[in-house]
């Protein structure tokens, strides 16, 4: 006969119970339902997400005809395809009249664009957004060394101008009448390295991202503001052009300065939201959620948590 265990093993728990509890704590605090959009590091926002989020919302009950009066959307993401960010934004707004985006840690790039569709963005302590300029990567997203940031091209163009100015100054000081071709040589080299098609695509995609941002800000975030158009122009300009690099953390203070409708979460709310992300991270780390789709990509995790008021819960209504 095999000996039994000396210490009784703990009763088995459901895999998502800890996450579920943290989300319930957050919905109880905020008194509204919660949609969680969690993208671990190697999960990029893609247009395929739209169908999955739609399915999740439909299973939850609300419809386009019977929207939720209010909804919190917790986002944790490094971004992805800007078209996906825009489509997710419109989808979520189709299901809720008032939306607050909760960002416990970061919602970068396409996720920042998504947040532009909120009535407000609520940032956890030390959390932030990012610029919405674009980066081109290899088709399978696997080679960071092949990434080219539009911010790099912008800065290179500034560098070209500085070079020309500097060279002309030197030539003038030396009393030379000849001119310099340093700018055209540098531009030719840049186009040779990045390729003419990519340079064109960069600028076209930036226009597109700016257009998406305008649409979302005009329709959802800024209608209550008297200076809506000025604010929108400022936000789009700052998030598209003002950052020195694509990898730039736009924290609460910068968001406020750049004109976004943003709030810093109170400590309790920030702690609760960060706890949800910590639980998601643990579940993704042990592969309970976010399985790998390929060597380079993982599935994001979405879930909806309805809000039950204390009165409803006490009455036994689910």
């Amino acid at each position: 006969m095999l000996p039994g265990p000396l210490v009784a093993s703990p009763p088995p728990t459901a895999p998502l119970s800890a996450l579920d509890a943290s989300c319930r704590d957050l919905t109880s605090y905020r008194k509204r339902p919660l949609l969680v959009l969690y993208y671990p590091d190697s999960a990029s926002m893609t247009e395929d997400d739209v169908e999955d989020v739609y399915a999740r919302l439909r299973t939850a009950g609300p419809t386009i005809e019977e929207k939720l009066p209010a909804l919190d959307v917790l986002v944790e993401s490094n971004g992805g395809n800007p078209a996906a960010g825009y489509r997710l934004a419109q989808l979520i707004r189709d299901f809720a009249l008032e939306v607050s985006f909760l960002v416990p840690d970061h919602a970068y790039s396409a996720a920042t664009l998504l947040c532009f569709s909120g009535n407000e963005v609520r940032l956890g302590h030390c959390a932030g957004l990012s610029p919405i300029d674009i980066t081109l990567v290899s088709a399978d997203g696997r080679a960071p060394q092949e990434e080219v940031e539009l911010a790099n091209i912008d800065n290179f163009l500034e560098f070209v101008k500085d070079c020309r100015r500097g060279m002309e100054q030197v030539l003038q000081q030396l009393g030379c009448s000849s001119s310099t071709r340093v700018d055209s040589d540098l531009l030719v080299e840049m186009v040779r390295q990045v390729s003419a098609l990519h340079v064109g695509k960069f600028f076209r995609e930036r226009l597109l991202t700016g257009h998406y941002a305008e649409e979302l800000l005009d329709k959802y975030m800024f209608p209550p503001y008297k200076d809506a158009v000025d604010r929108r122009n400022k936000v789009v300009h700052q998030f598209l052009f003002a950052a020195p690099a694509h990898e730039f953390h736009v924290d609460y203070h910068l968001c406020l300065k750049w004109g976004l409708a943003v709030q810093e979460m109170p400590t309790v709310e920030s702690d609760l939201a960060k706890e949800v992300v910590a639980k998601l991270f643990a579940l993704a780390s042990d592969c309970t959620i976010c399985p790998r789709l390929s060597r380079y990509q993982r599935l994001p995790f979405y879930n909806y948590y309805g809000y039950l008021s204390d009165d409803t819960a006490a009455a036994g209504v689910i």
């Binding site: 459901a14 895999p15 998502l16 119970s17 579920d20 339902p33 990029s44 395929d48 169908e51 999955d52 399915a55 999740r56 299973t59 939850a60 009950g61 971004g79 992805g80 395809n81 800007p82 960010g85 790039s109 396409a110 664009l113 919405i132 300029d133 674009i134 980066t135 081109l136 990567v137 290899s138 088709a139 997203g141 390729s195 003419a196 098609l197 990519h198 695509k201 995609e205 991202t209 309970t288 959620i289 399985p291 789709l293 390929s294 599935l299 995790f301 979405y302 879930n303 909806y304 948590y305 309805g306 039950l308 209504v317 689910i318």
Partner: protein, 68 residues
């Protein structure tokens, strides 16, 4: 009934997550199939380009998806 729909058990969340995973894998497989069938047909015939002056950049580089 509407209220019952709002109750989410963990099983529901994981089941839906698994369904999304299967759907996504299916999509990826379909895309791979369509790429492979294109590859099997071989390269598309070159358009009339008597001087063959197009650079390697325009011929071989794939237009990559934007990321932001």
């Amino acid at each position: 009934m509407e209220q019952v729909k709002n109750k989410f058990t963990e099983t529901d969340a994981l089941t839906l997550h698994r369904r999304a995973y299967e759907r996504r894998l299916h999509k990826l497989a379909q895309r791979n199939d369509s790429t492979e069938s294109k590859d099997a047909r071989g390269p598309e015939p070159e358009r009339a380009d008597p001087d063959n002056r197009r650079s390697d950049n325009t011929r071989s580089k794939r237009i990559t998806p934007p990321r932001c």
